[in-house]
Point group: C2
Chain length 326, copies 2
């Protein structure tokens, strides 16, 4: 796999032929959209970046932070003259926006998105894409628990994966162009079909989030343990779950409604496996527990070796009184 990454903090000089895209339109300027702007400017990939956001406050913040040159309330205006349009809104909002902007997209434009579900994007956006526009769904596997235009930063995609799910018969030249764009944002790129993406993300992202949301709510509703106790003693492991449970509720509602089949399948397996462990606890079967716990360690080692997490204890969280109180 070819990789082309700019150095952190080092602006690439624009090649004599000009930047990759003359005008990038970000539809939605939250964590993901704003980070694309940071990283695209770091690498000099765009002649101009413009954005659409429904609320005036978001547009004003995005302009103030230099994320976009112009902000539009109406996505149709934002896509005029753009040769790369990126939908950076929750999955459930993409179909409606595609219907609006479809007639305004220029031939030769690449239309992509960043949604966590790909089958539903193909289903909802696909029908609105006019001939001559290259629709290539995408999903950067990167993020933090923070939301909004101020949450973005240039390094978000560095050494993370971005999955592209081109439709059968997609134009290879434009797929390669979008791939190169993500590589220049800092990512590694993988190509797979939309259904497989939804299965992979079901287990690596969607089910973990659901479980995190769930245990936080279970803890909040106990009668014999107070919320204050849960918070105080969360360093025993619980707090690790709360980070992803702090993620944007709208985005995650849309993910679960739009990746139903894969999530239900993975959840079924998870619950089956959990009941197996529960049974081992009930009957005092220490060997089964020990073996399963030992096996789980090796996946962690793989993740660190693959550069997808840090080996520092506690994710490198600050320790010591001087840093903890914020």
């Amino acid at each position: 796999m070819s990789k082309s990454r700019s150095k952190i903090g080092q602006k690439k000089t624009v090649a004599p032929v000009g930047p990759m895209f003359k005008r990038i339109a970000l539809i939605g300027i939250g964590l993901i959209g704003s980070s694309i702007s940071h990283a695209a400017r770091r690498a000099g990939l765009a002649g101009e970046i413009v954005g659409a956001a429904k609320t005036e406050a978001t547009r004003a913040t995005a302009i103030k932070l230099g994320l976009i040159a112009k902000g539009y309330a109406d996505a149709r205006e934002a896509v005029r003259g753009a040769d790369l349009v990126i939908l950076c809104v929750p999955v459930g909002a993409c179909g409606k926006i595609a219907a609006e902007i479809g007639p305004h997209l220029e031939p030769g434009t690449i239309l992509t998105d960043v949604g966590s579900v790909k089958g539903a994007i193909v289903r909802d956006v696909g029908p609105h894409v006019p001939a001559g526009v290259h629709f290539i769904p995408g999903h950067p596997i990167a993020g933090t628990e923070h939301s909004g235009p101020e949450a973005g930063f240039a390094e978000l995609y560095d050494n993370r994966w971005c999955i592209l799910t081109p439709l059968p018969g997609a134009d290879a030249v434009h797929v390669t162009r979008l791939r190169t764009f993500w590589e220049k944002l800092g990512s590694n790129v993988e190509i797979m079909d939309a259904d497989h993406h939804d299965l992979v993300l079901g287990i690596t992202s969607h089910v973990p989030h659901l479980i995190a949301f769930n245990i936080v709510n279970t803890a909040a509703h106990l009668e014999r343990v107070t919320d204050s106790e849960v918070i105080k003693f969360s360093a025993g492991g619980f707090r690790d779950f709360t980070r992803i449970a702090a993620s944007d509720p709208t985005m995650w509602r849309d993910v679960f409604l739009n990746n139903r089949e894969a999530v239900l399948e993975m959840l079924g397996r998870f619950t089956e496996d959990l009941i197996h462990l529960q049974r081992a606890i009930r009957y005092g079967d220490g060997d089964t527990l020990f073996d399963l716990f030992t096996e789980a360690r090796s996946i962690r080692r793989g993740i660190i070796k693959a550069g997808q997490d840090t080996a520092a204890p506690d994710f490198g969280r600050p320790h010591g009184a001087q840093t903890e109180k914020k």
Copy 2:
């Protein structure tokens, strides 16, 4: 609650009356024991720290790192002359060690432990404690996913909670003495009864660990998603679970075998709540999902406000290519 904390990295000068304990014996020198040594030396709490460890390699490492002045293979020798004895071994090993060292403990000595379960410690250790020895079970809510004497550091207990679960009729003077010891190690101290501790930790620590071990194993056994894909795309949320799933398998086996009732109760609630969410996904009930996800965010805010986690995105994990590959 009074707090007396030494500054990080600043050795306290020993008060004229001498250190709090003349000889501290650590039985077991892993992450927890070694961190106690670091923090106790930082605060000048011990005339001497000695340790017992079964393996020669652990004793040699502990001496080399300055964690202990003397190392013993036999715990009975380690406790001679000690006025504070701390069991720092997995919960399942404490009863046997207590039976061995009991007859060798000197009157006036405080005997404590660091186990993640307290009811079982009272049950297993209690009967071996001779008259005149002050047995006060304890549990610092702190740790990392790393194990062994080299994993310890002085700041591990800073601003974390330590729970003491003295038995009915415990000598208040000695409970206060142990409380002060933990405060000087950097902790906040809470006192509760053993059964309540086991319930609180069931939800804040034991069930989260079981769920983390479980989802890692579920992911590892899928037929349609490879381990390599799980590892590559783990940044979507999964990797957060793998940290605690990398914790010591022996310690955790013992926790589940010894806190069975509380864990089974909490697990039952967790599964019930999860099936409620699963049903909302199946029937497309977005409002239920949205409301539950929104509620989960507030607990995260409480944890950050209480100083039990960092507000930095991704736990403050390093971002950018220069820091990720190790």
